[in-house]
Symmetry: C2
Subunit: 270 residues, 2 copies
């Protein structure tokens, strides 16, 4: 059985970007889990990406897998990309290299070191001239894109753009099932508008797909598996088929911050 995998940033300019990244001087320990290291991307770094997705920050599953958007948010993004006919030709980077701890101060978020390194990634991805559309997930990512657009390099790049509601915003914001359902309906309406805006720009879909809007709730097929070829070599299937296998466990905030507990899902061992 073949297990395609993602080699990561092995060629320039990505190789240098993965070897030379900002640390606590740009990402203070009080606002970011710098102790777990940076996590850079998911998807194609070979110049073949047609869509760039900008997410927010990595969580615990991403920390183990060392790829971003590998959990529930990632599966919803796969569904969004698939509606645009993009099943392979995408790349995702995050607003932040490190997992957010608490909240991020505006001065940190706009810090020169943090922003200039991210701009190097944006230039690396967009410099190929292959990207046709950019999708930002949530507010911080939208700001990241706007900061880049304001640069001379950013002004030189013409791509379709949609700032969408973050894929797990309904669960983060809703206090009960009714609120989550309402926020989900709003998210899907927002995503439908993005589909309308982006679809005409995508001239090279992997799988040409008639544009079909979401309904008012998540339906069968709206969440799609993250392809095995987006993961590093040798990871077991349960790491990419579902999340929920990595938790931060501890009796107080510091213990929790220092811990990630992995559990092989039940049913994997016979």
């Amino acid at each position: 059985m073949l297990h395609p995998f993602d080699p990561g940033g092995v060629n320039e300019p990505f190789r240098s970007l993965c070897a030379d990244y900002p640390g606590p001087e740009a990402y203070p320990e009080s606002q970011f889990r710098v102790e777990w290291g940076p996590i850079f991307h998911r998807g194609r770094l070979d110049g073949s990406a047609r869509v760039l997705v900008i997410g927010q920050d990595p969580a615990q599953h991403e920390t183990i897998v060392r790829r971003i958007l590998v959990g529930e948010a990632g599966r919803r993004v796969q569904g969004l990309l698939a509606r645009l006919g993009i099943t392979r030709s995408y790349v995702c980077i995050n607003t932040y290299l490190y997992s957010v701890y608490g909240s991020v101060r505006a001065a940190t978020r706009r810090g020169a070191g943090l922003v200039s390194y991210r701009h190097r990634w944006l230039q690396a991805v967009l410099g190929s001239g292959q990207v046709e559309a950019v999708i930002t997930l949530g507010q911080a990512a939208r700001e990241a894109w706007e900061l880049w657009q304001a640069t001379p390099e950013g002004q030189a790049v013409a791509v379709a753009f949609a700032a969408v509601t973050h894929p797990t915003q309904p669960e983060s914001s809703g206090h009960n099932a009714a609120e989550v359902a309402q926020a989900t309906a709003a998210l899907l309406q927002n995503w439908n508008a993005a589909l309308q805006a982006l679809a005409p720009a995508l001239q090279h879909p992997d799988t040409p797909t008639p544009l079909a809007p979401y309904g008012t709730a998540w339906a069968e097929g709206d969440r799609l598996p993250i392809p095995e070829e987006d993961f590093p070599a040798g990871l077991p299937a349960w790491m990419h088929e579902n999340d929920g296998w990595a938790r931060r466990v501890g009796s107080d905030a510091l213990a929790k911050r220092r811990n990630i507990t992995l559990t092989v899902p039940s049913g994997v061992l016979s």
Copy 2:
């Protein structure tokens, strides 16, 4: 600050080897922790390796890092290689792709699928013609080498060879400090013999080094750090500076088998 990293098996023949590997049909779940996925190597896969080290099987730190020999055994091996002037031009593979659970049956150990896949790795590493010496760690690795030597491809390869005592055999075998000390003295004697046998074959050391034997106990400098460039991109420093941060925790054997608990060492967070 630059953080060199190892891109892994990105070029052929290693890319195919990392995408197409045996599973439970060769590595039964009753004898191997197949549920955590295969872990392939550490070191150079670009044809520059002058020494091949064959270890036994990966443990919990290796499972997280996805590189082999990254714990105490690995640090002792780095010291051994350094005495041969090899600080960079090495590659390590294991006898087994998966972590041993309990013990391995002879029929499994010599199974056709298990052995033939390992032979593909040996051919890939040795086919470059650059390797000048092979070191096996422990009994299973020695047998792995002997099985390869018995093949037509193995017979065509002429390299210096030393089968050494496994680097952590003293701790595994000793029941108290005196026994560990005695076993350590025996190990170092065994390693000194290997140094004598291998040194003349190493025509291309990274750092020409006058041959110096070990003493009768581990001394300052005998254990060396594993270079950051042997690890995947972005891993935090504490993951390569020490081990002890990954444990298998659980109230019974199955719970323990399903768990790996990561803890950021104290002192990393200020």
